[in-house]
């Protein structure tokens, strides 16, 4: 269904066999250089950032070493710093948020791209894009005033009564905690998933769909088995964006997660995330070891993002279809 990637046999001076000067004359070489510089600057900035984090955490790294990843005590007065609760909290809240946002988001994107009439789809998309612009503080405030009471009074007790046998849903229902933070994060990242996935789905060529339908598939089959896989990498890209946002979100999380460095199997428990603790304590942190431990947490988040991105990419590479129109991870 997609064009193969064989190179056309050359019949004279054709693209692909121009000389260096030919490319230079036509401006291609300069453009290539300029755009390369800009692309390289992205890598440079990232490296610089990692370098600053590395330098800024040297004391803490030497003092704690790998124990930083295992220990749970966070004591600014006696200068004992362990990062495990924050790593745990970051992973849990991001996981919860993606578990909620990805199915909802892709489902909604499919609906908007395939089923909804163009005007409805465009109008709704417009509002959804707007939501990416709502400041995270406002999400936090809405979380505190609406989501937290909802959780405490209705949702958490309901979950406890039905699924309380699972260790996930035990413990007192404060309203704040991992689950609430995950829900608020899900609301924040869903616009990214819907927006980008919808655009990508819309750009799938019409003939793909029509070919599937012509072969007798139902509407759903053509969507799920042909269109979505074709747009697979774009959708994955949107999930990356969402994951990145969830991992790094600061303000909204700190207002609803409970800010307690705790590790618990229960989603009702209050917790802490890396971004939240940095936001809470960095401005006031006095003493080199304290400040540097916070910077080390920032470095750890980078490492987490690195690993998660790597895992996700491996996932794509091993399961992607050959010959789909966009084969880049």
């Amino acid at each position: 269904m997609s064009t193969s990637s064989t190179i056309l046999p050359s019949a004279g001076p054709v693209a692909g066999s121009r000389s260096f000067f030919g490319r230079l004359r036509e401006g291609d070489e300069i453009v290539r250089l300029i755009t390369f510089l800009f692309a390289a600057s992205v890598v440079l900035i990232t490296l610089l950032l990692v370098f600053e984090l590395w330098q800024g955490s040297v004391l803490a790294r030497h003092k704690f070493g790998f124990a930083f990843f295992r220990t749970s005590v966070w004591d600014p007065v006696f200068e004992q710093f362990g990062g495990l609760p924050f790593i745990f909290g970051t992973l849990v809240t991001s996981a919860v948020s993606l578990l909620i946002a990805v199915p909802l988001g892709i489902g909604a994107a499919i609906f908007l791209a395939e089923l909804a009439p163009a005007r409805v789809s465009d109008t709704l998309e417009f509002f959804i894009d707007l939501l990416a612009a709502v400041p995270s503080v406002i999400y936090g405030v809405l979380g505190v005033f609406i989501v937290v009471p909802l959780m405490r009074v209705y949702i958490q007790p309901a979950l406890k009564n039905t699924l309380g046998f699972l260790p996930l849903f035990r413990g007192p229902a404060y309203g704040i905690g991992f689950l609430t933070a995950g829900v608020v994060l899900a609301i924040m990242v869903i616009p990214y998933i819907i927006s980008v996935s919808r655009e990508v789905l819309l750009s799938v060529p019409r003939d793909q769909r029509e070919a599937a339908l012509a072969l007798g598939s139902t509407r759903w089959e053509s969507t799920w088995k042909v269109v979505v896989p074709f747009a697979r990498t774009g959708i994955m890209g949107s999930i990356f964006l969402a994951l990145a946002r969830a991992l790094g979100e600061t303000m909204a999380v700190t207002m609803v997660i409970g800010n307690t460095p705790a590790i618990s199997a229960s989603l009702f428990s209050p917790g802490y995330s890396i971004a939240a603790v940095i936001a809470n304590e960095y401005a006031e942190a006095s003493g080199e070891l304290y400040t540097q431990s916070l910077v080390e947490l920032g470095l750890v988040l980078f490492l987490l993002t690195f690993i998660l991105n790597g895992l996700a990419r491996i996932l794509i590479l091993t399961t992607s279809q050959r010959g789909s129109g966009m084969g880049n991870a």
Partner: protein
């Protein structure tokens, strides 16, 4: 109709209805948020808000005129930094690069995207504020610009790659150079998606608070030029929402609404001004 077909049709209708439900849930939550913001902000907006400087605590009648201008200035600097890097970098990735380089650049962009906004603020502090011993609009814009890069880059690249191969080959067959092809065929074809990407990145940084706290700081008065600390809407919202004063709460909602309206206006204006009418018809 054989049973298997009936089943498949049933699954089809069921799943499509489910997607409709997903859309309904997502959209209603989002509409609720917008409605809440519009309602609470709407009842708090008044002329003072747009024209007056902040009043001291406990006094009514203050506004956020300086924050509105401050946000506009910050976003201008951010766009000038973030969009060229993101856009041109994406062109390199989509059109020129080999897969190894592309892999590294994409990975770096995703890493940058995942950095907590406060870490970016710390970074901008170390790079711009610390050497010059000055909190400034430029530092804030720099921090926001860095945050715009990954979203712009990755999304633009996706849309450039989505341009059908046939268009590229057609241009090549007509003898166009790579640059010409990019300029006249590929970018216009992906234009809608690219604009979405840029506006998405813009919207994202417009509401960011944490990076500004260490870079632009804040200001009760007008910020003169580009090297003084400046007030901004997100930071004002943050300060006011977390205060115990009702008047400030109302102003925080109003600020949230104004911020949203600003993004909306820029969205509309950008699409209108930059529309060149070329886009691939809907598949």
């Amino acid at each position: 109709m054989n049973p298997r077909l009936r089943w498949r049709k049933f699954v089809s209708n069921f799943m499509l209805t489910m997607t409709g439900c997903c859309a309904l849930v997502a959209v209603s939550v989002l509409f609720f948020i917008l409605g809440y913001l519009v309602y609470n902000g709407g009842i708090s907006i008044n002329w003072n808000f747009f024209t007056k400087l902040p009043a001291p605590v406990g006094e009514t009648g203050g506004g956020m005129a300086n924050a509105i201008v401050g946000s506009a200035k910050l976003l201008l600097v951010a766009t000038l930094i973030g969009v060229p890097i993101g856009f041109l970098g994406a062109i390199y990735l989509a059109e020129f690069s080999g897969s190894k380089v592309a892999f590294v650049v994409r990975y770096a962009a995703d890493l940058l995207n995942g950095a907590p906004s406060i870490v970016i603020g710390m970074f901008a502090f170390a790079l711009v504020v610390h050497p010059f011993k000055q909190f400034s609009t430029l530092a804030g814009g720099f921090a926001l610009g860095i945050m715009m890069i990954p979203i712009t880059l990755r999304s633009t690249e996706q849309f450039l790659l989505a341009v059908p191969r046939t268009l590229r080959e057609g241009a090549m067959a007509l003898g166009a150079s790579k640059w010409k092809t990019i300029q006249t065929v590929i970018v216009p074809a992906a234009y809608r998606g690219i604009l979405t990407a840029i506006l998405l990145a813009f919207a994202r940084v417009a509401g960011e608070t944490a990076p500004l706290i260490f870079t632009a700081l804040g200001n009760q008065y007008w910020s003169h030029g580009w090297t003084e600390p400046t007030a901004s809407l997100p930071v004002m919202i943050y300060n006011y929402a977390l205060s115990p004063y009702d008047d400030w709460h109302r102003q925080a909602w109003a600020a949230g609404l104004v911020l949203l309206a600003l993004i909306l206006i820029i969205n509309i204006v950008a699409r209108a001004i930059l529309s060149r009418g070329i886009s691939v018809p809907r598949a």
